[in-house]
């Protein structure tokens, strides 16, 4: 065994390595456990949960685009109650930190979801998805409104002592302003980034390829944008960052860490190769040995400008 230390801290959350599986790309863990040993991972993040089950959008929900894909799943999920009753027992068998991602259409719903989940000991942290329409305030996404993000952070903070991560939207001019209010309101970390708004049309029918017209762009196409957003936060705000966007291999993980990420999440890659996250962890260890990096977390924000 090597002496390489892959562990990372995100506030009080300790992970054995920085590789987490991103919300919406692992379901609730059962399918992916057939391919990969969940116990080897840093953490897994659930599909966004809402208070009540959500049916999601009609088909077509996804379309491939150059080096990426658009999705408009519409936050289809089983809801908090079914999650606790039917999904937690499976996840309990594993020794992998479980992070619950929450989506809601009002501040009250975010609070109630968190309150209903926080006493479940299997859940080690919360990630708040603010890329959802704020139905009470005219449908503008929480994530596009600094005050709304500040408000959600403060209100959710008040009902849980568990590490609180706010997952930021990249569809804003200055993402660091959002990271700053998260820190000011007591959030422990930010995840960056969620998907970018995009669309795709069929040139023969002149119709959108996905039912919802717009979808969220993910995959390698968004990596440079995600890196720039992580770097911006890292330079402006002193808060742990979980880097997300287009990670396809271990080199991408190292790049995210160098620009400021303490840990990363892998999303779209799980669809293509669900064994990749485990392989990447092994390759990060090999990289550390080859490059004389004793503690992987020393890479975080080690950029030279």
């Amino acid at each position: 065994m090597s002496n390489i230390d892959l562990s990372v801290n995100i506030g009080s959350l300790k992970l054995r390595n920085p590789i987490m599986l991103a919300s919406g790309t692992v379901g609730y863990g059962n399918e992916i456990s057939e391919f990969s040993d969940l116990n080897k991972l840093g953490a897994i993040v659930t599909k966004s949960l809402s208070l009540k089950p959500r049916k999601g959008n009609p088909p077509q929900r996804i379309v491939e685009t150059p080096a990426g894909m658009l999705n408009a799943i519409g936050l289809a999920n089983v809801g908090v109650d079914v999650f606790l009753k039917e999904k937690i027992p499976f996840l309990k068998q594993f020794d992998v930190p479980l992070i619950c991602n929450i989506a809601a259409s009002s501040v009250e719903e975010y609070v109630e979801c968190t309150r209903n989940l926080t006493s479940e000991e299997t859940i080690k942290a919360f990630e708040i998805n603010v890329s959802c329409p704020n139905v009470k305030e005219g449908g503008l996404q929480f994530g596009n409104d600094v005050n709304a993000v500040a408000n959600v952070t403060a209100k959710v903070r008040a009902v849980t002592n568990k590490p609180l991560i706010i997952k930021l939207s990249p569809n804003v001019s200055y993402i660091s302003e959002f990271a700053k209010v998260v820190k000011d309101e007591g959030g422990d970390a930010v995840s960056a980034i969620n998907t970018l708004v995009g669309t795709s049309f069929n040139i023969f029918t002149k119709k959108p390829k996905i039912f919802n017209v717009n979808g969220g762009l993910s995959g390698p196409a968004i990596k440079p944008i995600a890196l720039a957003k992580v770097l911006e936060i890292s330079r402006k705000v002193d808060i742990p960052i979980i880097g997300i966007g287009g990670i396809m291999n271990w080199q991408d993980v190292v790049e995210f860490m160098i620009v400021g990420a303490s840990a990363v999440q892998i999303g779209t890659l799980n669809f293509i190769d669900p064994t990749a996250p485990e392989k990447i962890i092994k390759q990060l260890e090999d990289y550390c040995i080859a490059s004389n990096v004793e503690k992987l977390s020393n890479l975080t924000a080690s950029y030279i400008l």
């Binding site: 999601g56 996804i62 080096a67 999705n71 293509i272 669900p274």
Partner: protein, 253 residues
């Protein structure tokens, strides 16, 4: 469900734009069921990014067969694979056709590339059931009868066989169909499946259809492949996990 790298044995062009690929994959061959599918990564880099789903066309010993036409970049790359090239396959996926049961007569209804899953179906039931295969297409070049038995053809333009669509061809057989001893298995474009569903429900015929959807993962983690259920309004079914084969009564097509 696992991922294997399996070598191509040969890629045959059986029609103008139809390819049959024989792949040596004992792991998949020994467990895959008719109507299940495989999600194939055609390229190791990011273009195309996602895997491409293909029905299992046939199994012979340790070899599996895919049938496809060239639609876009993914199938273009796949068609170029030669003997010895490795193919990254994730599978077996989905539920497949339920071929067992008391029925005596199997009617296979295929439209265009919807013929793909039926060589294996035919191989499995040919000694125990009477098979009638109805194969339809727009025109004679769309007719694929590879690996099928007792075939009748329909074309929309009348260039081969019955002039009309394949469900109209099925209707012509209605007088000879005993719905208590007959089961229909179908795959093809949605318009065909919709007409077939109406026909089977009206005539009280047991019918399983293989459906399609855009897919990202193929194994239930992305929620990208919903299909409306007829029994549960609160939840979509997933084509990749709950299907791709459904009883026509269970889904809105």
């Amino acid at each position: 469900m696992f991922i294997v790298n399996s070598p191509v044995v040969e890629t045959l062009q059986v029609h103008e734009n139809i390819f049959i690929q024989k792949i040596h994959s004992p792991e998949i061959a020994s467990i895959i069921k008719p109507g299940q599918f495989l999600n194939v990564r055609v390229s190791v880099n990011s273009f195309p990014l996602l895997r491409r789903p293909f029905s299992i066309c046939d199994v012979n010993g340790e070899n599996i067969f895919l049938m496809f036409n060239i639609l876009g970049e993914g199938t273009k790359i796949l068609a170029k694979k030669q003997k010895g090239d490795l193919i990254d396959i994730l599978g077996p996926l989905g539920n497949g056709f339920n071929l067992e049961g008391e029925y005596k007569n199997a009617i296979i209804v295929a439209g265009g590339l919807g013929s793909a899953p039926f060589p294996l179906v035919t191989r499995i039931i040919k000694n125990s059931k009477n098979i009638l295969s109805l194969v339809g297409g727009r025109s004679t070049q769309d007719i694929i009868t590879y690996g099928m038995q007792n075939v009748q053809v329909s074309t929309d333009d009348g260039s081969q066989g019955f002039n009309g669509n394949v469900v109209q061809l099925l209707e012509k057989h209605l007088a000879n169909i005993d719905n208590k001893t007959t089961k229909v298995f179908a795959c093809g474009p949605n318009a065909m499946l919709r007409a077939l569903k109406d026909f089977c429900i009206k005539n009280n015929l047991d019918c399983e259809v293989s459906t399609e959807s855009a897919m990202a993962c193929g194994f239930g983690i992305c929620q990208g492949c919903p299909i409306e259920s007829t029994t549960n309004d609160d939840k979509y079914l997933l084509v990749c996990k709950d299907g791709p084969v459904f009883n026509v009564k269970d889904v809105v097509i």
